[in-house]
């Protein structure tokens, strides 16, 4: 318990340091709008991909419908902040988005999580598409045109802070009793069941948790970009999040951070290449997968707790 608290305190320090560094860079004029946009995109992608990594990497369930839950969060913010354009309204909309996403995740998850592997992937993809098509045809969401002029209620600092909070909560969940139950389901479902773990419940818990973080990411996306349309949340959007998770290493939160930063930077650099951009991007994707099939970091994790532990062990010897 003490080491956990210590590790969390160290991480908090790292996060505050990161905030100060970005703030100083902003103050010194090193960060223009272009780079700020990149940083915010990276932050939102980290939130989304961490949630998906919990589902795919830690509970071992292959979900291809993350963008559907993101859409719920984005539209909750888009609709609510248009009538309550205050920061309070923004956080209220985020909570509403999380709630709706949790309900949707329960509706989708309870029946489909019985399916396995690729069948689950295709069912969740279908569910996300159903959500998108509903949004596309509803009056309140303004149909295919989407919502625009959403009040700008999320600065880079909001995104950064929320990214830190969701990451700390997710990592602590993974290291809790529940997290170990979730991982045991990934390793061997039958063995986990034999040990008395309610596998369906923990699979659902991870799925709902991931959906809630996706809704948070969607809220931030809507409030920062200020324009959303149903086509922003199609299958390709789900796949983009999946790519971050797999590229970083399935089951490594550190890897998710690295992959989100690498892809964000790559995307910004490739802006200069115009139409060649997507060709280079896809070639890079194929080559990384062929030469590093487990992702950039595999399941390696940067852990201060472990570093600390190593030190203590060597001190005792």
């Amino acid at each position: 318990m003490k080491t956990t608290l210590k590790a969390n305190a160290v991480w908090l320090g790292v996060m505050i340091l990161g905030f100060v560094v970005i703030d100083a860079a902003e103050f010194a004029g090193l960060v223009n709008t272009f780079i700020e946009n990149m940083l915010v995109t990276i932050g939102i992608n980290v939130i989304l991909a961490t949630g998906l990594n919990l589902i795919i990497g830690f509970s071992g369930q292959f979900s291809l419908g993350h963008a559907g839950f993101m859409a719920i969060g984005a539209y909750a913010t888009g609709i609510i902040t248009q009538s309550i354009a205050t920061p309070l309204g923004f956080y209220l909309s985020m909570i509403v988005g999380i709630f709706v996403a949790i309900i949707a995740a329960l509706i989708v998850g309870i029946p489909t999580l019985r399916l396995r592997g690729d069948y689950l992937a295709i069912a969740t993809m279908g569910a996300a598409e159903i959500i998108r098509i509903l949004i596309n045809n509803l009056k309140i969401t303004n149909g295919a045109a989407g919502l625009f002029n959403i009040p700008a209620l999320a600065s880079w600092a909001t995104v950064y802070t929320i990214m830190c909070v969701t990451t700390i909560v997710t990592v602590n969940f993974i290291h809790s009793r529940g997290g170990r139950a979730v991982m045991s389901v990934r390793e061997d479902e039958i063995a986990a069941e034999a040990m008395g773990i309610n596998t369906t419940r923990w699979k659902l818990a991870a799925f709902v948790f991931g959906a809630a973080t996706a809704a948070i990411g969607g809220s931030l996306h809507a409030a920062y970009i200020q324009t959303i349309a149903p086509s922003d949340f199609n299958i390709m959007a789900s796949i983009a999040i999946l790519i971050i998770v797999v590229l970083g290493g399935v089951g490594s939160i550190t890897g998710t951070f690295v992959a989100a930063i690498v892809l964000g930077a790559l995307d910004t650099i490739l802006q200069n290449f115009g139409t060649l951009r997507m060709i280079i991007y896809s070639l890079a994707l194929i080559l990384i997968m062929i030469f590093k099939p487990t992702g950039l970091l595999g399941n390696w994790e940067l852990s201060f707790k472990r570093l600390n532990h190593h030190k203590e062990v060597s001190a005792h010897e």
Binding site: I56, A121, I122, G126, A127, T275, S282, M289, P293, T294
Partner: protein, 292 residues
């Protein structure tokens, strides 16, 4: 009654295109357990090949169809050899991401080389519409249906009657055991990709003729729907894929006919989820019991 008949014909023609595409998905999945996301783009390549040979070389329909099938078979084999073979023993999700990468590459490569514009497919066969009992049937629809059924029949014969087909079935049951009895794994997998891609190429030329327009991103949505068709039919099963394709085609036209065309994709996914919940392995899929 007439509308139902009319929609039935429209649905069957659309369904046969989905069925041709679904066959490629189901065979590849059956043999290496990979969702080949690039399959829809091979269908796009087939359509573009047909467009160019008809416009530039002025060949007739049969030549265009057959050459597109050969071309797509080659593309499929090359993609498998370069992108999927090195990953055969990696986690499956890695191979899936690679397939998505190949799909992006084909889509954007084609957009870059030939621009992303939509173009009109040359009408090599003059459309003749027959009126029959109040229904309109065009010769293109008949052609699509007949060609698709013929190709499916040939495929079934290849899989059931030839030595290579037997090898394919053996590899899909157990790759290691198949190698032990002297089956060349690489040749068999390449052959599977060739067959599946040839079907996709044929579907590409047929859809060009039917819808009259092609563009580099045309493979995305039909690709996903064809995969859904393969899953509904029971992935890995060849007759299942054909049946699934026809179900999706009929369903889509039926939903459109009752005036809910905005929801036609949603209905397809609802049916998918319902079928998976009732029959977790699809209609013709084998339900494998899990052993400890």
């Amino acid at each position: 009654m007439q509308t139902i008949g009319q929609q039935l014909i429209n649905g069957l023609s659309l369904g046969s295109i989905y069925a041709l595409l679904a066959l490629g998905y189901t065979m590849v999945y059956g043999i290496i357990k990979l969702i080949n996301f690039a399959h829809g783009d091979i269908y796009m390549l087939g359509a573009f090949w047909g467009y160019y040979v008809i416009n530039v070389l002025h060949v007739n329909f049969i030549v265009a169809l057959l050459s597109a099938m050969v071309f797509c078979a080659l593309v499929g084999v090359v993609i498998e050899a370069i992108a999927y073979r090195p990953l055969r023993h990696s986690p499956r999700i890695t191979a899936l991401i690679t397939a998505i990468g190949v799909s992006f590459l084909l889509e954007n490569g084609m957009s870059y080389l030939f621009t992303a514009n939509t173009r009109n497919f040359p009408q090599v066969i003059k459309t003749v519409t027959w009126h029959f009992a109040g229904m309109r049937i065009s010769n293109i629809q008949v052609l699509i249906l007949v060609t698709a059924c013929l190709l499916m029949l040939i495929l079934e014969l290849i899989i059931k009657k030839t030595k290579m087909g037997k090898a394919m079935r053996a590899v899909s049951v157990d790759p290691t055991a198949a190698q032990l009895v002297g089956i060349n794994l690489n040749h068999t997998i390449s052959f599977t990709f060739a067959l599946g891609s040839a079907m996709a190429g044929a579907a590409g030329v047929l859809i060009g003729l039917y819808y009259n327009s092609i563009d580099p991103l045309m493979g995305m949505t039909p690709g996903i729907k064809a995969f859904v068709a393969a899953v509904i039919g029971g992935i890995g099963s060849v007759p299942g894929a054909s049946l699934g394709g026809f179900i999706i085609g009929l369903l889509e036209t039926a939903v459109q006919a009752i005036g809910l065309s905005a929801y036609k994709d949603a209905v397809v996914y609802v049916v998918l989820i319902v079928i998976l919940l009732v029959l977790p392995a699809g209609i013709f899929g084998k339900n494998v019991k899990e052993k400890v």
